[in-house]
Protein backbone atom coordinates (compact mmCIF):
# COMPACT_ATOMS: atom_id res chain seq x y z
CA UNK A 1 0.00 0.00 0.00
CA UNK A 2 1.36 3.39 -1.00
CA UNK A 3 0.83 6.60 0.92
CA UNK A 4 0.15 9.69 -1.18
CA UNK A 5 -0.82 13.27 -0.60
CA UNK A 6 -4.48 13.58 -1.63
CA UNK A 7 -4.95 15.37 -4.96
CA UNK A 8 -7.28 17.83 -3.25
CA UNK A 9 -4.52 19.02 -0.88
CA UNK A 10 -1.84 21.38 -2.16
CA UNK A 11 1.80 20.46 -1.64
CA UNK A 12 2.51 23.18 0.91
CA UNK A 13 3.39 23.44 4.60
CA UNK A 14 0.51 24.33 6.90
CA UNK A 15 0.58 26.92 9.66
CA UNK A 16 -1.00 24.59 12.21
CA UNK A 17 0.70 23.93 15.56
CA UNK A 18 2.28 20.57 16.44
CA UNK A 19 -0.41 18.22 17.71
CA UNK A 20 -3.29 20.21 16.20
CA UNK A 21 -6.14 18.16 14.76
CA UNK A 22 -6.82 20.37 11.73
CA UNK A 23 -4.18 18.64 9.62
CA UNK A 24 -5.85 15.27 10.16
CA UNK A 25 -9.33 16.64 9.43
CA UNK A 26 -8.06 18.42 6.30
CA UNK A 27 -6.64 15.12 5.09
CA UNK A 28 -9.85 13.22 5.76
CA UNK A 29 -11.91 15.77 3.86
CA UNK A 30 -9.44 15.79 0.96
CA UNK A 31 -9.37 11.98 0.80
CA UNK A 32 -13.17 11.82 0.76
CA UNK A 33 -13.32 14.38 -2.08
CA UNK A 34 -10.68 12.40 -4.01
CA UNK A 35 -12.39 9.06 -3.51
CA UNK A 36 -15.75 10.46 -4.60
CA UNK A 37 -14.11 12.08 -7.64
CA UNK A 38 -15.77 15.43 -6.97
CA UNK A 39 -12.81 17.84 -6.63
CA UNK A 40 -13.59 19.66 -9.87
CA UNK A 41 -17.19 20.30 -8.89
CA UNK A 42 -16.63 21.04 -5.22
CA UNK A 43 -16.65 24.50 -3.67
CA UNK A 44 -15.56 24.99 -0.06
CA UNK A 45 -16.02 27.87 2.33
CA UNK A 46 -13.18 29.05 4.55
CA UNK A 47 -14.14 30.11 8.08
CA UNK A 48 -12.75 32.64 10.52
CA UNK A 49 -10.64 30.84 13.06
CA UNK A 50 -7.54 28.68 12.84
CA UNK A 51 -8.67 27.31 9.47
CA UNK A 52 -8.94 30.82 8.00
CA UNK A 53 -6.11 29.99 5.59
CA UNK A 54 -7.95 26.86 4.45
CA UNK A 55 -7.76 28.06 0.84
CA UNK A 56 -3.96 27.82 0.93
CA UNK A 57 -4.25 24.06 1.50
CA UNK A 58 -7.25 22.88 -0.52
CA UNK A 59 -6.98 22.67 -4.29
CA UNK A 60 -10.63 23.33 -5.09
CA UNK A 61 -12.66 26.54 -5.42
CA UNK A 62 -12.92 28.30 -2.05
CA UNK A 63 -14.75 31.38 -0.78
CA UNK A 64 -13.50 33.24 2.30
CA UNK A 65 -16.52 34.04 4.49
CA UNK A 66 -17.26 36.32 7.41
CA UNK A 67 -17.18 34.78 10.90
CA UNK A 68 -20.07 32.35 11.36
CA UNK A 69 -21.68 32.98 7.97
CA UNK A 70 -20.53 29.99 5.88
CA UNK A 71 -23.89 28.15 6.02
CA UNK A 72 -25.62 31.24 4.57
CA UNK A 73 -22.93 31.72 1.91
CA UNK A 74 -23.06 28.01 1.08
CA UNK A 75 -26.86 28.29 0.78
CA UNK A 76 -26.54 31.02 -1.85
CA UNK A 77 -23.98 28.97 -3.79
CA UNK A 78 -25.83 25.67 -3.61
CA UNK A 79 -29.15 27.16 -4.69
CA UNK A 80 -27.53 28.67 -7.77
CA UNK A 81 -25.35 25.64 -8.50
CA UNK A 82 -27.40 22.64 -7.32
CA UNK A 83 -25.21 20.11 -9.14
CA UNK A 84 -22.01 21.27 -7.41
CA UNK A 85 -20.85 19.97 -4.04
CA UNK A 86 -20.72 22.71 -1.43
CA UNK A 87 -19.12 22.22 1.97
CA UNK A 88 -18.29 24.43 4.92
CA UNK A 89 -15.37 23.85 7.27
CA UNK A 90 -15.98 25.60 10.57
CA UNK A 91 -14.69 25.74 14.09
CA UNK A 92 -16.71 25.93 17.28
CA UNK A 93 -16.69 29.72 17.62
CA UNK A 94 -17.67 30.14 13.99
CA UNK A 95 -20.42 27.52 13.96
CA UNK A 96 -21.76 27.42 17.51
CA UNK A 97 -21.36 31.01 18.79
CA UNK A 98 -21.39 33.85 16.27
CA UNK A 99 -22.91 31.67 13.54
CA UNK A 100 -25.43 29.66 15.56
CA UNK A 101 -28.35 31.23 13.72
CA UNK A 102 -26.96 30.44 10.28
CA UNK A 103 -26.17 26.87 11.38
CA UNK A 104 -29.61 26.14 12.81
CA UNK A 105 -31.51 27.62 9.90
CA UNK A 106 -29.43 26.00 7.16
CA UNK A 107 -29.98 22.70 8.99
CA UNK A 108 -33.68 23.39 9.42
CA UNK A 109 -34.13 24.17 5.73
CA UNK A 110 -32.47 20.86 4.99
CA UNK A 111 -30.05 22.82 2.82
CA UNK A 112 -28.22 20.27 0.69
CA UNK A 113 -24.73 21.16 1.92
CA UNK A 114 -22.10 19.39 4.01
CA UNK A 115 -20.73 20.93 7.20
CA UNK A 116 -17.43 19.81 8.70
CA UNK A 117 -17.49 21.09 12.27
CA UNK A 118 -14.17 20.98 14.13
CA UNK A 119 -14.83 21.16 17.86
CA UNK A 120 -11.70 21.76 19.92
CA UNK A 121 -13.45 23.48 22.81
CA UNK A 122 -11.39 26.68 22.53
CA UNK A 123 -10.84 29.78 20.36
CA UNK A 124 -7.52 28.84 18.78
CA UNK A 125 -6.56 31.66 16.44
CA UNK A 126 -7.25 34.46 18.90
CA UNK A 127 -5.22 32.76 21.60
CA UNK A 128 -7.34 30.51 23.78
CA UNK A 129 -10.53 32.26 24.83
CA UNK A 130 -13.67 30.38 25.91
CA UNK A 131 -15.58 28.68 23.11
CA UNK A 132 -19.28 27.77 23.15
CA UNK A 133 -18.06 24.17 23.48
CA UNK A 134 -15.52 24.79 26.27
CA UNK A 135 -16.38 22.21 28.91
CA UNK A 136 -17.30 22.93 32.54
CA UNK A 137 -14.26 23.75 34.63
CA UNK A 138 -11.98 24.11 31.58
CA UNK A 139 -9.42 26.88 31.79
CA UNK A 140 -9.28 29.48 29.04
CA UNK A 141 -7.90 33.01 28.87
CA UNK A 142 -11.41 34.36 29.50
CA UNK A 143 -12.40 31.74 32.08
CA UNK A 144 -9.30 31.93 34.28
CA UNK A 145 -11.13 30.13 37.09
CA UNK A 146 -12.54 27.50 34.77
CA UNK A 147 -15.80 27.67 32.83
CA UNK A 148 -18.90 27.83 34.97
CA UNK A 149 -17.79 30.00 37.89
CA UNK A 150 -19.17 33.28 36.57
CA UNK A 151 -22.33 32.54 34.69
CA UNK A 152 -20.78 31.30 31.43
CA UNK A 153 -23.19 28.38 31.13
CA UNK A 154 -22.10 25.02 29.81
CA UNK A 155 -20.95 23.60 26.50
CA UNK A 156 -23.38 23.58 23.57
CA UNK A 157 -23.93 20.14 22.08
CA UNK A 158 -24.55 20.87 18.43
CA UNK A 159 -25.41 17.37 17.19
CA UNK A 160 -27.97 16.90 19.96
CA UNK A 161 -29.41 20.34 19.33
CA UNK A 162 -29.72 19.86 15.56
CA UNK A 163 -31.26 16.44 15.99
CA UNK A 164 -34.35 18.22 17.32
CA UNK A 165 -34.91 19.53 13.77
CA UNK A 166 -36.54 17.75 10.83
CA UNK A 167 -34.15 19.18 8.22
CA UNK A 168 -30.83 17.34 8.70
CA UNK A 169 -30.27 14.07 6.86
CA UNK A 170 -27.08 13.10 8.60
CA UNK A 171 -25.51 14.10 11.92
CA UNK A 172 -22.55 12.30 13.44
CA UNK A 173 -19.98 13.13 16.09
CA UNK A 174 -16.53 11.61 15.70
CA UNK A 175 -13.02 12.27 17.00
CA UNK A 176 -9.47 12.29 15.65
CA UNK A 177 -7.74 11.32 18.88
CA UNK A 178 -6.86 7.70 18.03
CA UNK A 179 -6.28 5.66 14.84
CA UNK A 180 -9.62 3.93 15.36
CA UNK A 181 -11.38 7.26 15.79
CA UNK A 182 -9.69 8.63 12.67
CA UNK A 183 -10.90 5.69 10.56
CA UNK A 184 -14.42 6.22 11.84
CA UNK A 185 -14.16 9.96 11.21
CA UNK A 186 -13.08 9.27 7.64
CA UNK A 187 -16.16 7.12 7.03
CA UNK A 188 -18.40 9.80 8.51
CA UNK A 189 -16.91 12.61 6.40
CA UNK A 190 -17.28 10.55 3.23
CA UNK A 191 -20.82 9.60 4.13
CA UNK A 192 -21.72 13.24 4.71
CA UNK A 193 -20.60 14.08 1.17
CA UNK A 194 -22.47 11.05 -0.17
CA UNK A 195 -25.66 12.35 1.44
CA UNK A 196 -25.25 15.61 -0.45
CA UNK A 197 -24.47 13.84 -3.72
CA UNK A 198 -27.65 11.81 -3.25
CA UNK A 199 -29.61 15.00 -2.62
CA UNK A 200 -30.63 14.00 0.90
CA UNK A 201 -30.12 17.43 2.44
CA UNK A 202 -28.11 18.91 5.28
CA UNK A 203 -25.25 16.76 6.59
CA UNK A 204 -22.92 17.63 9.44
CA UNK A 205 -19.96 15.84 10.97
CA UNK A 206 -18.74 17.15 14.32
CA UNK A 207 -15.10 16.28 14.87
CA UNK A 208 -13.64 16.42 18.39
CA UNK A 209 -10.11 17.67 17.88
CA UNK A 210 -6.97 18.62 19.77
CA UNK A 211 -5.60 22.09 20.54
CA UNK A 212 -2.49 21.49 22.66
CA UNK A 213 -1.24 25.07 22.26
CA UNK A 214 -4.26 26.79 23.74
CA UNK A 215 -5.08 24.03 26.18
CA UNK A 216 -1.49 24.46 27.48
CA UNK A 217 -0.91 20.71 27.14
CA UNK A 218 1.59 18.55 25.28
CA UNK A 219 0.28 16.90 22.09
CA UNK A 220 0.07 13.56 23.94
CA UNK A 221 -1.81 15.13 26.87
CA UNK A 222 -4.15 16.83 24.38
CA UNK A 223 -5.07 13.45 22.92
CA UNK A 224 -5.87 12.27 26.44
CA UNK A 225 -8.00 15.37 27.03
CA UNK A 226 -10.16 14.51 24.02
CA UNK A 227 -10.43 10.86 24.97
CA UNK A 228 -11.05 11.33 28.68
CA UNK A 229 -12.75 14.72 29.08
CA UNK A 230 -14.34 15.75 25.80
CA UNK A 231 -15.85 12.41 24.86
CA UNK A 232 -17.57 12.33 28.28
CA UNK A 233 -19.28 15.64 27.52
CA UNK A 234 -19.71 15.11 23.77
CA UNK A 235 -20.63 11.44 23.25
CA UNK A 236 -19.60 10.05 19.88
CA UNK A 237 -22.18 8.51 17.60
CA UNK A 238 -24.71 8.89 14.83
CA UNK A 239 -27.51 11.28 15.73
CA UNK A 240 -29.34 11.21 12.39
CA UNK A 241 -29.01 9.04 9.30
CA UNK A 242 -31.72 8.94 6.69
Amino acid sequence: MEFHRPRTLKNVLTHYCPGCGHGIVHRLVAEAIDELGIRERTIGTAPVGCAVLFYNYFDCDIIECAHGRPPAVATGMKRMLPDRIIFTYQGDGDLAAIGTTETIHAANRGENITVIFVNNAIYGMTGGQMAPTTIKGQWSTTTPEGRGKHGEGGPIRICEMLSALDGPSYLERVAVSSPKDILRAKKAVKKAFEKQIAGKGFSLVEVLSMCPTDWKLTPAQAVDFVNEKMKAVFPLGVFRDR
Binding site: R39, E40, R41, T42, I43, A46, V52, L53, Y55, F58, D59, C60, D61, I62, I63, E64, C65, A66, R69, A72, V73, A74, T75, G76, M77, K78, R79, M80, L81, R84, T101, E102, I104, H105
Partner: protein, 364 residues
Protein backbone atom coordinates in the same frame (compact mmCIF):
# COMPACT_ATOMS: atom_id res chain seq x y z
CA UNK B 1 -43.30 49.11 -27.31
CA UNK B 2 -43.00 49.34 -23.56
CA UNK B 3 -45.91 48.16 -21.51
CA UNK B 4 -47.39 50.77 -19.17
CA UNK B 5 -48.07 49.36 -15.72
CA UNK B 6 -49.41 50.54 -12.38
CA UNK B 7 -47.59 49.06 -9.41
CA UNK B 8 -46.46 50.03 -5.95
CA UNK B 9 -42.77 50.89 -5.95
CA UNK B 10 -41.82 47.73 -4.05
CA UNK B 11 -43.67 45.58 -6.58
CA UNK B 12 -42.24 47.40 -9.57
CA UNK B 13 -38.77 46.91 -8.11
CA UNK B 14 -39.35 43.15 -8.20
CA UNK B 15 -40.51 43.29 -11.82
CA UNK B 16 -37.48 45.35 -12.80
CA UNK B 17 -35.05 43.01 -11.05
CA UNK B 18 -36.51 39.95 -12.73
CA UNK B 19 -36.54 41.73 -16.09
CA UNK B 20 -32.85 42.51 -15.59
CA UNK B 21 -32.08 38.81 -15.11
CA UNK B 22 -31.89 38.73 -11.32
CA UNK B 23 -32.38 35.08 -10.39
CA UNK B 24 -31.55 35.04 -6.71
CA UNK B 25 -33.19 37.04 -3.96
CA UNK B 26 -32.81 36.64 -0.21
CA UNK B 27 -34.45 38.98 2.27
CA UNK B 28 -36.08 39.38 5.63
CA UNK B 29 -39.41 41.07 6.36
CA UNK B 30 -39.28 44.68 7.48
CA UNK B 31 -41.70 47.55 6.91
CA UNK B 32 -41.94 49.47 4.58
CA UNK B 33 -40.48 47.01 2.01
CA UNK B 34 -42.44 43.82 2.76
CA UNK B 35 -43.99 43.74 -0.71
CA UNK B 36 -40.53 42.99 -2.10
CA UNK B 37 -40.01 39.58 -0.44
CA UNK B 38 -43.73 38.83 -0.77
CA UNK B 39 -43.77 39.38 -4.50
CA UNK B 40 -40.36 37.77 -4.96
CA UNK B 41 -41.65 34.63 -3.23
CA UNK B 42 -43.88 33.80 -6.23
CA UNK B 43 -42.36 35.79 -9.07
CA UNK B 44 -38.87 34.35 -8.64
CA UNK B 45 -39.97 30.70 -8.99
CA UNK B 46 -42.04 31.72 -12.05
CA UNK B 47 -38.87 33.17 -13.56
CA UNK B 48 -36.88 30.03 -12.74
CA UNK B 49 -34.99 31.79 -9.96
CA UNK B 50 -34.55 31.30 -6.24
CA UNK B 51 -36.30 33.13 -3.41
CA UNK B 52 -35.21 32.57 0.17
CA UNK B 53 -36.76 34.14 3.24
CA UNK B 54 -33.59 34.31 5.28
CA UNK B 55 -33.38 33.88 9.05
CA UNK B 56 -31.87 37.36 9.40
CA UNK B 57 -30.61 40.31 7.38
CA UNK B 58 -27.11 39.06 8.10
CA UNK B 59 -27.88 35.66 6.60
CA UNK B 60 -29.63 37.29 3.63
CA UNK B 61 -26.63 39.40 2.62
CA UNK B 62 -24.34 36.39 3.06
CA UNK B 63 -26.58 34.31 0.81
CA UNK B 64 -26.14 37.12 -1.72
CA UNK B 65 -22.36 36.86 -1.21
CA UNK B 66 -22.54 33.16 -2.07
CA UNK B 67 -24.97 33.51 -4.98
CA UNK B 68 -22.90 36.30 -6.52
CA UNK B 69 -19.70 34.27 -6.16
CA UNK B 70 -21.56 31.48 -7.97
CA UNK B 71 -22.18 33.88 -10.85
CA UNK B 72 -25.82 34.83 -10.32
CA UNK B 73 -27.39 38.23 -10.71
CA UNK B 74 -28.74 38.70 -7.21
CA UNK B 75 -30.47 41.19 -4.98
CA UNK B 76 -31.47 41.76 -1.38
CA UNK B 77 -33.68 44.48 0.03
CA UNK B 78 -34.50 45.89 3.41
CA UNK B 79 -35.18 49.11 5.28
CA UNK B 80 -32.91 51.11 7.55
CA UNK B 81 -32.43 48.91 10.67
CA UNK B 82 -32.11 45.86 8.44
CA UNK B 83 -29.57 47.60 6.22
CA UNK B 84 -27.50 48.28 9.34
CA UNK B 85 -27.39 44.52 9.95
CA UNK B 86 -26.24 43.90 6.40
CA UNK B 87 -23.21 46.17 6.67
CA UNK B 88 -20.79 43.39 7.61
CA UNK B 89 -21.70 41.42 4.50
CA UNK B 90 -21.62 44.51 2.29
CA UNK B 91 -18.04 45.19 3.35
CA UNK B 92 -17.05 41.60 2.47
CA UNK B 93 -18.82 41.78 -0.91
CA UNK B 94 -17.05 45.07 -1.67
CA UNK B 95 -13.71 43.56 -0.61
CA UNK B 96 -14.25 40.52 -2.82
CA UNK B 97 -15.43 42.77 -5.69
CA UNK B 98 -18.61 40.83 -6.24
CA UNK B 99 -21.60 42.37 -8.01
CA UNK B 100 -25.00 42.59 -6.34
CA UNK B 101 -27.87 45.00 -5.82
CA UNK B 102 -28.96 46.09 -2.34
CA UNK B 103 -32.17 48.09 -1.92
CA UNK B 104 -32.83 50.33 1.07
CA UNK B 105 -36.40 51.63 1.33
CA UNK B 106 -35.42 53.97 4.13
CA UNK B 107 -37.53 54.57 7.23
CA UNK B 108 -37.09 56.87 10.20
CA UNK B 109 -34.13 56.36 12.51
CA UNK B 110 -32.01 56.13 14.57
CA UNK B 111 -32.83 52.96 16.50
CA UNK B 112 -35.98 51.12 15.62
CA UNK B 113 -37.17 54.59 14.62
CA UNK B 114 -40.52 54.49 12.93
CA UNK B 115 -41.97 53.24 9.66
CA UNK B 116 -42.37 56.57 7.88
CA UNK B 117 -40.20 57.52 4.94
CA UNK B 118 -36.86 59.18 5.71
CA UNK B 119 -33.44 59.88 4.22
CA UNK B 120 -31.34 59.42 7.33
CA UNK B 121 -29.18 56.62 5.93
CA UNK B 122 -27.34 58.87 3.46
CA UNK B 123 -24.05 58.79 5.35
CA UNK B 124 -24.31 55.03 5.82
CA UNK B 125 -24.90 54.49 2.09
CA UNK B 126 -22.45 57.02 0.71
CA UNK B 127 -19.66 57.24 3.26
CA UNK B 128 -19.25 53.59 4.17
CA UNK B 129 -21.53 51.90 6.64
CA UNK B 130 -19.44 48.78 6.98
CA UNK B 131 -15.77 48.65 7.94
CA UNK B 132 -12.85 49.53 5.71
CA UNK B 133 -12.15 51.67 2.64
CA UNK B 134 -14.85 50.80 0.15
CA UNK B 135 -17.56 52.47 -1.88
CA UNK B 136 -20.99 51.53 -3.10
CA UNK B 137 -22.54 52.93 -6.23
CA UNK B 138 -25.67 54.59 -4.77
CA UNK B 139 -28.67 55.27 -7.01
CA UNK B 140 -31.47 57.59 -5.87
CA UNK B 141 -34.67 57.34 -7.90
CA UNK B 142 -37.46 59.86 -7.28
CA UNK B 143 -40.20 58.40 -9.47
CA UNK B 144 -41.34 54.86 -10.14
CA UNK B 145 -40.14 55.20 -13.72
CA UNK B 146 -36.69 56.03 -12.40
CA UNK B 147 -36.93 53.19 -9.90
CA UNK B 148 -37.67 50.77 -12.75
CA UNK B 149 -35.01 52.12 -15.09
CA UNK B 150 -32.30 52.49 -12.46
CA UNK B 151 -32.97 48.96 -11.19
CA UNK B 152 -32.37 47.60 -14.69
CA UNK B 153 -29.18 49.63 -14.90
CA UNK B 154 -28.06 48.77 -11.36
CA UNK B 155 -27.37 45.16 -12.35
CA UNK B 156 -25.25 46.36 -15.27
CA UNK B 157 -23.26 48.79 -13.12
CA UNK B 158 -22.69 46.00 -10.57
CA UNK B 159 -21.45 43.54 -13.19
CA UNK B 160 -19.47 46.09 -15.17
CA UNK B 161 -17.58 47.47 -12.18
CA UNK B 162 -17.70 44.26 -10.07
CA UNK B 163 -19.09 46.33 -7.23
CA UNK B 164 -22.18 46.27 -5.01
CA UNK B 165 -24.81 48.82 -6.02
CA UNK B 166 -27.31 50.30 -3.60
CA UNK B 167 -30.70 51.65 -4.60
CA UNK B 168 -31.37 54.23 -1.91
CA UNK B 169 -35.13 54.72 -1.88
CA UNK B 170 -37.48 55.43 0.96
CA UNK B 171 -40.82 54.34 2.34
CA UNK B 172 -42.78 56.67 0.08
CA UNK B 173 -41.09 55.37 -3.08
CA UNK B 174 -41.73 51.80 -1.95
CA UNK B 175 -45.35 52.31 -0.98
CA UNK B 176 -46.67 54.72 -3.59
CA UNK B 177 -48.16 53.69 -6.92
CA UNK B 178 -47.86 55.61 -10.18
CA UNK B 179 -47.73 54.55 -13.83
CA UNK B 180 -44.42 53.48 -15.28
CA UNK B 181 -43.30 52.04 -18.59
CA UNK B 182 -41.93 48.54 -18.27
CA UNK B 183 -39.10 48.67 -20.80
CA UNK B 184 -37.53 45.40 -21.84
CA UNK B 185 -34.03 44.94 -20.45
CA UNK B 186 -31.08 45.67 -22.71
CA UNK B 187 -27.57 45.92 -21.27
CA UNK B 188 -26.37 49.53 -21.25
CA UNK B 189 -22.74 48.51 -20.88
CA UNK B 190 -20.41 46.06 -22.56
CA UNK B 191 -20.35 43.52 -19.75
CA UNK B 192 -17.12 41.61 -19.14
CA UNK B 193 -17.16 37.81 -18.78
CA UNK B 194 -17.43 36.61 -15.18
CA UNK B 195 -14.01 34.95 -15.07
CA UNK B 196 -13.80 35.14 -11.28
CA UNK B 197 -16.77 33.00 -10.26
CA UNK B 198 -16.61 29.78 -8.30
CA UNK B 199 -18.34 26.92 -10.09
CA UNK B 200 -15.87 24.10 -9.57
CA UNK B 201 -12.37 23.99 -11.06
CA UNK B 202 -13.09 21.62 -13.95
CA UNK B 203 -10.57 22.33 -16.70
CA UNK B 204 -8.92 25.23 -14.88
CA UNK B 205 -6.91 26.03 -11.75
CA UNK B 206 -8.87 26.32 -8.52
CA UNK B 207 -9.97 29.84 -7.58
CA UNK B 208 -10.38 31.68 -4.31
CA UNK B 209 -12.83 34.52 -3.64
CA UNK B 210 -10.74 36.37 -1.08
CA UNK B 211 -11.67 38.80 1.63
CA UNK B 212 -8.53 38.21 3.71
CA UNK B 213 -5.15 39.63 2.70
CA UNK B 214 -2.60 38.66 5.36
CA UNK B 215 0.34 37.71 3.18
CA UNK B 216 2.40 39.42 1.92
CA UNK B 217 2.31 42.18 4.53
CA UNK B 218 1.50 44.85 1.94
CA UNK B 219 -1.08 42.68 0.16
CA UNK B 220 -4.05 44.51 1.63
CA UNK B 221 -2.49 47.90 0.95
CA UNK B 222 -2.13 46.91 -2.71
CA UNK B 223 -5.66 45.53 -2.83
CA UNK B 224 -6.97 48.79 -1.38
CA UNK B 225 -5.03 50.79 -3.98
CA UNK B 226 -6.57 48.61 -6.66
CA UNK B 227 -10.03 49.33 -5.21
CA UNK B 228 -9.27 53.06 -5.11
CA UNK B 229 -8.28 53.00 -8.78
CA UNK B 230 -11.58 51.33 -9.57
CA UNK B 231 -13.51 53.89 -7.52
CA UNK B 232 -11.68 56.73 -9.28
CA UNK B 233 -12.66 55.20 -12.63
CA UNK B 234 -16.30 54.97 -11.53
CA UNK B 235 -16.16 58.62 -10.47
CA UNK B 236 -14.84 59.60 -13.90
CA UNK B 237 -17.40 57.54 -15.79
CA UNK B 238 -20.65 57.64 -13.84
CA UNK B 239 -22.71 60.78 -13.33
CA UNK B 240 -26.50 60.74 -13.19
CA UNK B 241 -28.16 64.03 -12.47
CA UNK B 242 -31.23 66.03 -13.42
CA UNK B 243 -30.76 69.78 -13.94
CA UNK B 244 -34.05 71.63 -13.97
CA UNK B 245 -34.27 75.36 -14.82
CA UNK B 246 -30.66 75.88 -13.82
CA UNK B 247 -29.46 77.95 -16.81
CA UNK B 248 -30.36 81.33 -15.34
CA UNK B 249 -31.00 80.20 -11.76
CA UNK B 250 -29.92 82.43 -8.90
CA UNK B 251 -31.12 80.06 -6.22
CA UNK B 252 -30.18 76.42 -6.76
CA UNK B 253 -32.05 73.75 -4.84
CA UNK B 254 -30.17 70.53 -4.14
CA UNK B 255 -32.30 67.52 -3.31
CA UNK B 256 -32.43 63.82 -4.18
CA UNK B 257 -35.03 61.07 -4.15
CA UNK B 258 -38.48 61.90 -2.86
CA UNK B 259 -37.32 65.28 -1.49
CA UNK B 260 -36.33 66.07 -5.06
CA UNK B 261 -39.96 65.81 -6.14
CA UNK B 262 -41.14 68.35 -3.57
CA UNK B 263 -38.17 70.53 -4.53
CA UNK B 264 -39.12 70.42 -8.19
CA UNK B 265 -42.66 71.50 -7.35
CA UNK B 266 -41.19 74.35 -5.30
CA UNK B 267 -38.99 75.48 -8.19
CA UNK B 268 -42.03 75.61 -10.47
CA UNK B 269 -44.00 77.60 -7.88
CA UNK B 270 -41.09 80.01 -7.34
CA UNK B 271 -40.73 80.52 -11.09
CA UNK B 272 -44.42 81.45 -11.25
CA UNK B 273 -43.57 84.22 -8.75
CA UNK B 274 -40.76 85.38 -11.00
CA UNK B 275 -37.98 83.99 -8.82
CA UNK B 276 -35.09 82.47 -10.75
CA UNK B 277 -34.88 79.14 -8.99
CA UNK B 278 -33.47 75.87 -10.33
CA UNK B 279 -32.95 72.30 -9.18
CA UNK B 280 -29.95 69.99 -9.32
CA UNK B 281 -31.15 66.51 -8.40
CA UNK B 282 -28.64 63.64 -8.38
CA UNK B 283 -29.96 60.24 -9.44
CA UNK B 284 -26.68 58.84 -8.17
CA UNK B 285 -25.15 60.19 -4.96
CA UNK B 286 -21.99 58.10 -5.15
CA UNK B 287 -20.29 59.02 -7.34
CA UNK B 288 -21.52 62.50 -6.45
CA UNK B 289 -22.07 64.91 -9.36
CA UNK B 290 -19.69 67.45 -7.81
CA UNK B 291 -18.74 69.08 -11.08
CA UNK B 292 -22.37 69.89 -11.89
CA UNK B 293 -22.79 71.69 -8.56
CA UNK B 294 -19.42 73.38 -8.94
CA UNK B 295 -20.34 74.77 -12.35
CA UNK B 296 -23.68 75.97 -11.01
CA UNK B 297 -21.87 77.79 -8.22
CA UNK B 298 -20.17 79.98 -10.82
CA UNK B 299 -23.51 81.63 -11.64
CA UNK B 300 -25.93 81.01 -8.78
CA UNK B 301 -26.05 83.33 -5.81
CA UNK B 302 -27.05 80.80 -3.21
CA UNK B 303 -27.94 77.16 -2.63
CA UNK B 304 -30.71 75.52 -0.66
CA UNK B 305 -30.35 71.90 0.35
CA UNK B 306 -33.55 69.99 1.07
CA UNK B 307 -33.47 66.54 2.61
CA UNK B 308 -35.48 64.26 4.89
CA UNK B 309 -32.77 64.16 7.53
CA UNK B 310 -30.94 66.65 9.71
CA UNK B 311 -28.01 67.45 7.48
CA UNK B 312 -26.18 64.65 5.67
CA UNK B 313 -26.51 65.23 1.92
CA UNK B 314 -25.83 68.94 2.60
CA UNK B 315 -22.21 68.13 3.45
CA UNK B 316 -21.55 66.75 -0.02
CA UNK B 317 -23.13 69.81 -1.64
CA UNK B 318 -20.89 72.11 0.42
CA UNK B 319 -17.84 70.03 -0.46
CA UNK B 320 -18.80 70.07 -4.13
CA UNK B 321 -19.06 73.86 -4.33
CA UNK B 322 -16.16 74.27 -1.92
CA UNK B 323 -18.32 76.64 0.14
CA UNK B 324 -18.07 79.32 -2.57
CA UNK B 325 -21.72 80.27 -2.10
CA UNK B 326 -23.94 80.38 0.95
CA UNK B 327 -25.72 77.07 1.50
CA UNK B 328 -29.03 77.21 3.33
CA UNK B 329 -30.46 74.04 4.75
CA UNK B 330 -34.00 72.76 5.10
CA UNK B 331 -34.21 69.30 6.57
CA UNK B 332 -36.67 67.26 8.57
CA UNK B 333 -36.04 63.81 9.98
CA UNK B 334 -37.90 61.20 11.95
CA UNK B 335 -40.21 60.38 9.08
CA UNK B 336 -41.26 63.94 8.18
CA UNK B 337 -40.47 65.93 5.10
CA UNK B 338 -40.23 69.55 4.04
CA UNK B 339 -43.41 70.58 2.24
CA UNK B 340 -43.40 72.37 -1.10
CA UNK B 341 -44.66 75.53 0.60
CA UNK B 342 -41.84 75.43 3.17
CA UNK B 343 -39.31 75.08 0.38
CA UNK B 344 -40.84 77.99 -1.57
CA UNK B 345 -40.70 80.12 1.56
CA UNK B 346 -36.97 79.47 1.86
CA UNK B 347 -36.46 80.20 -1.83
CA UNK B 348 -38.22 83.56 -1.42
CA UNK B 349 -36.05 84.40 1.57
CA UNK B 350 -32.88 83.55 -0.34
CA UNK B 351 -34.01 85.46 -3.42
CA UNK B 352 -34.64 88.57 -1.31
CA UNK B 353 -31.21 88.25 0.27
CA UNK B 354 -29.57 88.50 -3.11
CA UNK B 355 -28.80 92.21 -2.93
CA UNK B 356 -27.07 91.90 0.44
CA UNK B 357 -23.27 91.61 0.69
CA UNK B 358 -22.04 88.09 0.06
CA UNK B 359 -20.94 87.57 3.65
CA UNK B 360 -24.08 85.58 4.39
CA UNK B 361 -23.18 82.22 5.78
CA UNK B 362 -24.90 78.98 5.08
CA UNK B 363 -27.43 78.10 7.74
CA UNK B 364 -27.49 74.60 9.10
Amino acid sequence: MAEKVLFKGNELLVEAAIEAGCRFYAGYPITPQNEVPERMSWRMPQAGGVFIQAESEIAAINMIFGASAAGARCMTSSSSPGISLKQEGISYIAAAELPCVIVNMQRGGPGLGNIRAAQGDYFQAVKGGGHGDYRLIVLTPATLQELYDLTLNAFDYADYYRNPVMILGDGILGQMAEPAEKHPYHPILDLPPKDYILDGCKGRNSRVVRTLFLHPADGLMKHNLHLQEKYARIQRELSLVEQYQTDDAEVIIAAYGISGRAAKGAVKAARREGIKAGLIRPLCVWPFPSDVYRRAAERAKSFLVVEMSHGQFVEDVKLAIECRRPVAFLGKGGGWYPSQEEIVEQIRRLANEKSKPSTARGKR
